[in-house]
Symmetry: C2
DNA sequence: CTAAATCCTCTAGCGACTACAGCTTCAAGA
DNA sequence: TCTTGAAGCTGTAGTCGCTAGAGGATTTAG
């Protein structure tokens, strides 16, 4: 009898992807940038993951969902790997991130107001030469919005 | 007498940059991607801009400040170049963008709440093995936040 | 006429993936 | 045992909207 591997904790990358709702390519990317430790490989060079990886990847995904940068996650993971260290650092990272989120919300709300104002003055139909949207964009002086830098709206 | 150029409307790229608060490199980038038309050049191959360029660049900058994507700005500029077309398209672009902004605000607010909750349970000081932040990240089931994709927080 | 400031093009880098090409390996059914 | 199709592998390039730098040319003020 060959020793039977515990199948429930040894899985290929696609399985891990399904379990954690992280794409295969993203898992490989996390390994590449050092967030996820390199797993064992089969003789044919394919990755095989265990429970440790599932947990770590869940941690990473949750942090990413909360908008933490990969750099911050790296720091948080290092902390969680050294259970004896005080958690002050974790608190600093989390509150800094919270501040960032709040700042971003504030800016987006100011944008929202300005866009509301602009869009409301034109309900469509008229010709462009009279369109309030185009005019508002052309003439900055109409604007109540005093920007402090551009906002990145991708997501 | 050589014909005197109207100096106040013929300027090098650095001047245009100062007038519009757009960086020199960014101006060249806008030309490269076709937002700003290529200006005249001196014999020595340097760009010389006129009033038209100031206006167009101001339009672009204002739209970027409001978070419009370069693609949307391209469309808006095309509209404003054809004054006879109806402004329905402009209205569609603006309201779509407004919806996007609102969606983003909603997601960030949900993030904000979750981060508040996590950060509040730990005020620092204790060891990592007991830190609520680390635990919350490790254990997704604690989480009231049901994500619909990741949020991009760069800016 | 000289020197400093500005300008030019071209290339690469950012963050966090995503997509693809071109190949190899695995696992299940006949 | 063989076959076939899904899934895996590496490596490279693309996304967005700039930003930075190298290495050189031009302009302009003194």
């Amino acid at each position: 009898m060959t020793p039977r591997p515990r199948l429930d904790t040894v899985m290929p990358i696609g399985q891990l992807a399904k379990h954690t709702a992280v794409k295969v390519e993203t898992i490989r990317y996390y390994e590449q940038v050092g967030l996820l430790p390199p797993p064992e490989r089969t003789e044919g060079n394919q990755r095989r993951y265990g429970r440790r990886h599932v947990e770590r990847l869940a941690f990473i995904r949750h942090a990413r969902d909360l908008g933490f940068a990969v750099e911050s996650i790296r720091a948080l993971l290092t902390l969680s790997d050294n259970p004896a260290t005080p958690c002050d650092d974790a608190h600093v990272i989390a509150t800094a991130h919270l501040a960032e989120v709040r700042h971003k919300i504030a800016r987006l709300r100011s944008l929202e107001q300005e866009l509301e104002r602009i869009a409301a003055t034109c309900s469509g139909g008229v010709e462009v030469c009279d369109c309030a949207i185009i005019e508002a964009l052309a003439d900055h002086s109409q604007c109540r919005h005093h920007e402090d830098g551009r906002v990145d709206l991708r997501s």
